[in-house]
């Protein structure tokens, strides 16, 4: 298989990486760039653990080809904090005990981040709808929704 050089802006930093056609964006982020905050859950686009923001919108990196992502802006969980300071959503997840095993957390926070960026005051139903593609198998949804609500209210 022919390797090709692709360009990605990950969390604002440019990367030029040689990838094979069957490399997924998730594999590139984790194995080539070393950003292991993004998780692989089902690997088949069903659980949302691998969610990253591509051009600002949540997508599933486990079913996105790296070559297909060529030239795009990617935001991972590592990119939403500023320096040592956590993002308000991250702080809210910690304060509300919304992290149990933590496997869904990165995807959950990124999906919520985009929701709060695009809707200033989402209702509980809109929050539930936005995160319904992010499965939490500890089933801590109540606390997750509370954390997103609190971050929404703090931002007002």
């Amino acid at each position: 298989m022919e390797k090709r050089l692709i360009k990605l802006w990950v969390n604002g930093e440019p990367h030029e990486i040689g990838v094979k056609p069957n490399d997924t964006l998730l594999e590139v982020l984790r194995d080539k760039i070393g950003l292991i905050g993004t998780k692989e859950g089902c690997g088949a686009g069903e659980c949302g653990a691998c969610t990253v923001l591509m051009e600002g919108k949540p997508v599933l990196s486990c079913i996105t080809l790296a070559m297909d992502a060529d030239g795009s802006n990617i935001m991972t969980i590592e990119g939403i904090s500023t320096g040592e300071e956590l993002d308000p959503l991250q702080k809210s997840f910690i304060q509300h005990g919304a992290v149990q095993c933590g496997f869904c957390t990165a995807g959950m926070i990124l999906t919520a981040k985009e929701l709060l960026n695009s809707l200033k005051n989402p209702s509980i139903d809109q929050i539930k709808d936005a995160i319904c593609g992010n499965l939490c198998r500890c089933t801590g949804y109540t606390k997750i929704i509370e954390a997103i609500c609190a971050a929404r209210d703090d931002a007002k």
């Binding site: 298989m1 022919e2 090709r4 056609p21 069957n22 490399d23 997924t24 690997g43 088949a44 686009g45 069903e46 949302g48 969610t51 591509m54 919108k57 949540p58 997508v59 599933l60 079913i63 996105t64 080809l65 070559m67 297909d68 999906t111 709808d129 936005a130 995160i131 319904c132 593609g133």
Partner: protein, 329 residues
């Protein structure tokens, strides 16, 4: 065990429709079209299907644009994402059932990736066919895998894969057409006549052809419309059924009506007999019950992919009654 890494592939990225049709002419069934990839990539990972070449059509600008002209209507490129359709002002103002139908597909992330062309060309879904390569080692191949048996309909003589795409009933109700490009030519076909009903090859499309756009006629005043979809677990499961309805007139006298369903059988269905029965009628319990009986007869629901035929019949009844109620005033 399942190998969840993608198999070896050759990746192609045409920049124009001409380049795309040349590739398609040369490679035919050896290549798979990659738009959103939300169905294709998992299928490749599970070794449900195999392909030598992947052709990404998202770099063709023409395929990623939506345009609206009063006289021509709405043109949506095949690689426009469902999210962009939902967010488009003309769709929400004039083609609300299309927006609702796109909204009902899967979940947030998949709607950001998945495209309208991909939903229209979605492969048929089956409780058996969609199992992994590992699972299939213990069974004889079904029709869709090149064998001679159907596990859905015992003794069935063809593939009974389910036509599951959620946007299709809305497109049929809106009288949408597809533009299909082949090398040096293009043709138009009504969405209604695009499906074959044979799960092995569900679409009326040659090996050298690609769907490039969807055309929806200009919105006309006087029609009311509604879309409903039921599934067991909102976003995770395929539909028990989806139903689109457009009605002109009032509860006293239906001037015109269009009823389309998908997710119930091997192909989407326009309930023509029910439409003919209802035109000119007053809406009453009696006419409604008769219309439902006709719709169920026309659709002959199947038991597969997460729902029994019994449940499908019940849900068609519930959805049709609710939709008529919502549009009759």
């Amino acid at each position: 065990m399942n190998n969840m890494r993608l198999p070896n592939l050759i990746y192609l990225e045409p920049k124009t429709i001409e380049e795309l049709t040349e590739i398609k002419k040369e490679l035919g069934s050896q290549c798979a079209i990659l738009a959103g990839g939300t169905d294709l990539i998992p299928m490749l990972k599970r070794r449900n299907i195999s392909t030598k070449y992947l052709v990404n059509i998202k770099r063709i600008q023409d395929l990623t644009e939506i345009s609206y002209e009063g006289e021509k209507g709405l043109r949506i490129g095949a690689a426009v994402t469902l999210r962009n359709i939902i967010d488009h002002s003309v769709v929400s103002e004039s083609y609300s059932i299309l927006g609702q139908a796109a909204r009902s597909v899967a979940f947030n992330q998949l709607r950001n990736m998945g495209t309208l062309g991909g939903n229209i060309c979605l492969d048929s879904k089956c409780t058996f066919y969609n199992q992994s390569e590992f699972w299939w080692k213990s069974r004889l191949d079904c029709f869709k895998r090149g064998g001679n048996v159907c596990y859905v309909v015992k003794g069935g003589k063809q593939c009974f894969g389910l036509s599951a795409a959620d946007t299709v009933s809305a497109l049929i109700a809106l009288e949408a057409e597809l533009i299909i490009a082949g090398l040096g030519q293009q043709r138009r076909i009504l969405v209604e006549t695009f499906y074959t009903g044979d799960g092995r090859k569900p679409h009326q499309m040659g090996e050298d052809e690609v769907v490039t756009a969807v055309l929806i006629p200009p919105a006309v005043k006087g029609w009311k419309e509604g879309f409903l979809k039921k599934s067991y677990r909102g976003t995770i499961d395929f539909a028990i059924a989806s139903l689109s309805l457009r009605l002109k007139g009032s509860a006293e006298a239906i001037e015109n009506i269009r009823i389309a369903l998908n997710g119930v059988s091997t192909m989407p269905i326009r309930a023509k007999q029910a439409e003919i029965f209802l035109i000119g009628k007053r809406i009453s319990d009696k006419t409604l019950n008769e219309a439902i009986r006709v719709i169920v007869e026309e659709t002959s629901p199947l038991s597969l992919v997460g729902s029994s035929a019994f449940m499908r019949r019940k849900m068609i009844e519930v959805m049709f009654t609710d939709l008529i109620e919502s549009v009759k005033h």
